[in-house]
């Protein structure tokens, strides 16, 4: 448990710093366009906080997510009976990124504030189902030997995309260039946060087991 906390904290801090220089400036820029379009839009939730408190809140949320990622990866490795080591844990992180980042972004591209959206609950359900289904599919493909398991794995990975949410009619207030840069930055940040959470969890786990052996 401590392993996940320490690894997540360190990974979260690093990712929060990365966000501060990559995705957050794009979000702020998009909000300027959004505000210009809807001069008195009360649903402008992102602007509820500003300046330092906004950076602090964002960092706290990122650290929480990173600890969550590290704990999920550790749990997955324990459940599958894997030896927990940095390199292997980073690979688990890479697969988790494929599930929660790559697969979900096919149906729901990373969005800037002010882009057209459909109902939230339906998108959240599809996102979760796709991430879990892709994760299970990857596990079946990479870790199980029978042909039936491999076929089921491919099916689990492909299936969610037949039910992808209908995209909303495009009516973005943010320029397309900004949105494209944000989508790429968002995927990169997400990949790094999973890989870091995994690698650090593996590293801290190894250090802690060495310490236990010594004592």
């Amino acid at each position: 448990m401590t392993t996940g906390l320490i690894a997540g904290l360190v990974a979260g801090l690093a990712v929060a710093a990365l966000q501060h220089f990559t995705t957050t400036p794009l979000i702020l820029a998009a909000e300027v366009f959004e505000a210009a379009q809807h001069a008195h839009d009360s649903a402008d939730a992102g602007a509820a906080l500003s300046g330092l408190s906004r950076t602090a809140a964002t960092s706290a949320a990122t650290i929480a997510v990173s600890i969550g990622y590290a704990l999920i990866l550790l749990a997955a490795m324990l459940l599958s009976g894997d030896a927990i080591a940095p390199r292997r844990a980073a690979l688990w992180g890479a697969c988790a990124f494929a599930a929660t980042g790559l697969a979900t972004s096919l149906g729901l591209a990373p969005q800037l504030p002010g882009m057209a959206e459909t109902e939230l609950a339906a998108r959240q359900i599809w996102w979760l189902a796709t991430a879990l289904s892709t994760g299970a599919g990857l596990f079946a493909l990479l870790r199980l030997d029978s042909t039936a398991a491999k076929i089921a794995g491919v099916a689990l990975i492909a299936l969610p995309h037949f039910f992808a949410p209908q995209p909303a009619t495009p009516e973005s207030t943010a320029p397309a260039e900004l949105a494209a840069r944000f989508a790429a930055a968002s995927l990169a940040v997400q990949a790094i946060s999973w890989a870091l959470a995994g690698a650090l969890a593996g590293l801290v786990w190894r250090l802690q087991s060495r310490q236990q052996e010594l004592s």
């Binding site: 957050t24 949320a61 600890i67 704990l71 749990a75 969005q111 998108r123 930055a185 968002s186 940040v189």
Partner: protein
């Protein structure tokens, strides 16, 4: 059913059982944290986590 599951538990080495218990706790906590930061509805939580949700491509708004 009870007899069967306790037999299964006895068949597992105790270290494996410990690992499984730890895994279940870690999984629950991990999903809880991701849920709170990435999905929870209360407005205060949403506002605080807003930029993180967008940056890590959780569905938002």
């Amino acid at each position: 059913m009870n007899a069967k599951s306790s037999a299964n538990a006895a068949a597992l080495p105790s270290s494996r059982l410990e690992a499984l218990k730890a895994a279940v706790v870690a999984l629950t906590l991990g999903f809880g944290l991701v849920w709170l930061a990435g999905f929870a509805y209360p407005e205060s939580v949403h506002d605080a986590a807003h930029d993180t949700r967008h940056a890590l491509s959780f569905p938002c708004h």
